[in-house]
């Protein structure tokens, strides 16, 4: 089933290219923040290399910086990453290698690489997943190292508008997936669920709950 074209790796990396500056910048921010809450630089880099999920890492570090407990930081980070449960299930049929290969593919699955690999209709190209995921990995871990070792930020990513880059990318990746009324409805319902729950639910829960919008696809 995993019959991506040979150029699939490059296609994936190319689709990720627009975000590289933003990812390095946020990686630097994470490195700086992590040091400021008492991480050693190897710990900051190790977190980026193993957790490899920006929102969860920022959440964990900022809970610690607000004086939160380690248990609270762990809980928030794992809750934020719980969406990778259903995301992993969605790509699983397209990963056909050995158990180790599937495990490694799964680790490169983050929001951006998963969205780039999506080909609509629930199909995924594992080569695009790897191409996009590896480029993102290098930028994220490299950025973290620069921030954690350099120890000071190169300015606020927000003043460069980089915080809007992710929303723009997700919109660009969403539109080709919304051919047909049912898919458009699922996207709008997912957005509404997430916005409705953001003020009242812990971080991470709104996105997981939004995945419930896919139940529009239940066949009767």
């Amino acid at each position: 089933m995993a019959q991506g074209r040979p150029s699939g790796y490059r296609d994936g990396a190319r689709a990720m290219a627009p975000l590289t500056v933003a990812i390095v910048a946020f990686g630097i921010s994470f490195g700086v923040l992590a040091r400021s809450v008492g991480f050693s630089w190897p710990a900051a880099v190790a977190m980026s290399a193993t957790t490899f999920a920006g929102s969860a890492q920022f959440a964990a570090a900022s809970i610690l910086s607000d004086g939160g407990t380690i248990a609270a930081a762990i809980g928030a980070a794992l809750l934020l990453n719980a969406r990778y449960g259903p995301i992993g299930v969605s790509v699983a049929p397209w990963l056909t290698g050995s158990t180790l290969s599937r495990f490694l593919h799964a680790q490169l699955t983050v929001d951006e690489s998963w969205a780039i690999a999506a080909e609509g209709g629930g199909r995924f190209d594992p080569r695009k997943l790897v191409g996009a995921g590896l480029l993102l990995y290098v930028c994220w871990v490299g950025g973290t190292a620069i921030g954690a070792i350099g120890g000071r930020s190169f300015g606020d990513p927000g003043s460069l508008g980089l915080d809007a880059a992710f929303g723009a990318l997700f919109l660009g990746l969403l539109i080709p997936l919304t051919k047909g009324r049912r898919r458009t409805q699922a996207a709008l319902l997912g957005a509404m669920i997430a916005l409705a729950l953001t003020p009242i639910a812990p971080a991470g829960v709104p996105i997981i709950a939004a995945s419930g919008a896919c139940l529009l696809g239940v066949r009767r």
């Binding site: 933003a22 190790a46 977190m47 290399a49 193993t50 957790t51 490899f52 969860a56 990453n81 719980a82 969406r83 990778y84 449960g85 259903p86 995301i87 992993g88 969605s90 790509v91 699983a92 049929p93 990963l95 290698g97 158990t99 599937r102 495990f103 799964a106 680790q107 699955t109 929001d111 209709g121 629930g122 460069l160 508008g161 915080d163 809007a164 880059a165 992710f166 929303g167 723009a168 990318l169 997700f170 919109l171 660009g172 990746l173 969403l174 997936l177 699922a186 996207a187 997912g190 957005a191 997430a194 916005l195 953001t198 003020p199 971080a203 709104p206 939004a210 919008a213 896919c214 696809g217």
Partner: protein, 96 residues
């Protein structure tokens, strides 16, 4: 903390592909999984643009999203869409 979160995340990410890898999903599930992409991406767009921690805010990121929507409508490449959105957001922040 680093080790627990790292190992936990790797387990969450790996579970689906390790257990189900390479197997087609049951017919009844494919209709649901097919809508997972649109549903999650819709939610991610909304939270990236309007979310600020637990608060919902209307700030300059909306300008960026609007510019991105126009660029996408004009069939601009993704690179142009993302750069235009960031530039528009930065400009709005500097001016407003």
């Amino acid at each position: 903390m680093v080790l627990v979160v790292g190992a936990g995340t790797m387990a969450i990410k790996g579970a689906g592909p390790m257990i189900l890898g390479g197997r087609a999903l049951p017919e009844a599930l494919t209709g649901v999984i097919e809508l997972l992409g649109p549903a999650l991406l819709g939610a991610l767009v909304a939270v990236q643009i309007f979310g600020d921690g637990q608060a919902l805010v209307l700030d300059e990121r909306v300008v960026g999203l609007g510019v991105a929507a126009i660029a996408l409508w004009r069939k601009a490449p993704l690179l142009v869409v993302v750069v235009a959105a960031a530039a528009a957001t930065a400009l709005a922040r500097a001016v407003l």
